[in-house]
Amino acid sequence: MKILVPIKRVVDYNVKVRPKADESGVDLNNVKMAINPFCEIAVEEAVRLKEGGTATEIIAVTVGSSASQEQLRTALALGADRAILVETEIEVEPLAIAKLLKGVVEKESPDLVILGKQAIDGDNNQTSQMLAALTGYAQATFASELKIEGEKAVVTREVDGGLQTISVNLPCIVSTDLRLNEPRYASLPNIMKAKQKPLDVIEAGSLGVDIEPRNKTLKVSPPPVREAGIIVETVDDLVDKLKNEAKVIT
């Protein structure tokens, strides 16, 4: 079984991002970049399927600028066999990413595509579902458990009320939720080995799809600021404030 794992380069999850002073965008000067946490879970799941003998090859792919090679190397250090960068300088939207990934799916014919449910920059939660639509494959989003059973994937999904288990035909698109696994750290020898693994670069234009943005960001502003609160000394004070000041309990 061949697994394709699309990943994304994003601002590190520990960074508190702010808008630029002129509200023209997000201030990303000198911020630490990393592989999106949900994508890391996707890579880990693919590696486990390979270690368990289900998968034979793992291909990590990303759409972005040449700087994204850094995150592909991370995926290779975690256990992907080879990597593909679909290179573009345009800030691509999920629909465009899905179209480009469809091009990669057509070239590589994976049996399974695993990707993060959401990138923590745009918080869109769209790409996996869109890729499923464009390829005509079934989708199993927000996975907390994944089992391959013959020609099907059995996936337990995190839904609002609890858990839902579905069975989808392969090939299929799976998006990862937080409880699917706990990703490993890349070991130093594996980081060194990753430098020797193949990383192909494809020009986004060569895939012949429309990637022009449909959304224009008019401004990026800070969220409303909460007024500073107070520290109460005792539980009695707290109950008193909630009853008589905030009036949220009776």
Partner: protein, 308 residues
């Protein structure tokens, strides 16, 4: 052109999130139609017809829609999409599942998780865990939108819409429902509760959540949790409040033993009043709390319980 709202329901009942989305839709121009796609869903259909502001309820009642499988629902929505300028759903796990599939099939972008409508093509939405609010203008001919339900009040239930049965069958047969483990609870749902009490890593184990339950019973509150508490197995995944879990905005949010990571704050900082109980006075949760109590939760929470 009209506006299509996709109802969130469990076949028997409409979920309140549908009412929030109808209110969002009233900010746009056009009749509001609500699609109820389910199986044996006459209960949900009847309730949808009562939502104020709704002109027409479209019902697709067929076994293939019973469990809201994205492939079938998306094909159904696309099949009836021609007359609509806007298609809206709540940003629930169902809406997040089928709506991007709808937009890709229509070859339009999706605008996720909107919190305000400025005009028919311009919307506000939080990005970077709510640390920035983007104002986005969309150029597609049809707008496919998921709505952050906490940003819009729920529409009332004193309307009487006409009901139209659809004869649409869409079963791709590539996915199949197997089972569901849905927690049964007498407490209010997290996303529509007036009061929420949430526990974090400081709770130490699942048994200790009992002390929150007692307070929740007195306040009529829902119980939530931080990611740390869910990852540690203290409580199930559906308790999680945060950037990628549930977004909540109750009148009162009590955070117990929660440090306040950016990702948790993203899910609850629009609450009207926030209380934090934590023994670490430097915990970031105190920066968003209206009332902070620096104390050991295992003495403070039982004391709070006794005094309510």
């Amino acid at each position: 052109m009209s506006i299509l709202v996709i109802a969130e329901h469990d076949n028997e009942e409409i979920k309140a999130s549908t009412n929030n989305v109808v209110t969002a839709a009233t900010n746009l121009e056009g009749d509001i139609h609500v699609l109820v796609a389910g199986s044996n869903c006459s209960g949900a259909k009847d309730q949808a017809a009562k939502i104020s502001g709704v002109a027409r309820v479209l019902v697709a009642d067929s076994p293939e829609y019973e469990h809201c499988l994205a492939e079938n629902i998306a094909d159904l929505i696309v099949a009836i999409s021609a007359d609509y300028s806007h298609i809206l759903s709540p940003a629930t796990t169902n809406g997040k599942n089928y709506m991007p599939r709808v937009s890709a099939l229509l070859d339009v972008a999706q605008i996720s998780d909107i919190t305000a409508i400025e005009s028919s093509d311009t919307f506000e939405r939080p990005i970077y865990a709510g640390n920035c609010i983007a104002t986005v203008q969309n150029s597609d001919s049809k707008k496919v939108i998921t709505v952050r339900t906490t940003a819009f009040d729920a529409a009332q239930n004193d309307g009487s819409a006409e009901v139209v049965d659809l004869q649409e069958s869409h079963n791709l047969g590539i996915s199949e429902f197997i089972k569901e483990e849905i927690a049964e609870s007498d407490r209010p749902e997290l996303t529509s509760a007036d009061v929420i009490i949430s526990g974090g890593r400081g709770m130490q184990n699942g048994d200790n959540f009992k002390i929150l339950e007692s307070v929740a019973d007195k306040l009529g509150a829902a119980i939530g949790a931080s990611r740390a508490a869910v990852d540690s197995g203290f409580v199930p995944n559906d308790y999680q409040v945060g950037q990628t879990g549930k977004i909540v905005a109750p009148n009162l949010y009590i955070a117990v033993g929660i440090s306040g990571a950016i990702q948790h704050l993203a899910g609850m900082k629009d609450s009207k009043v926030i209380v934090a109980i934590n023994k670490d006075e430097d915990a970031p949760i105190f920066q968003v709390a209206d009332y902070g109590l620096v104390a050991d939760l295992f003495t403070a929470v039982p004391e709070l319980d006794a005094k309510l």
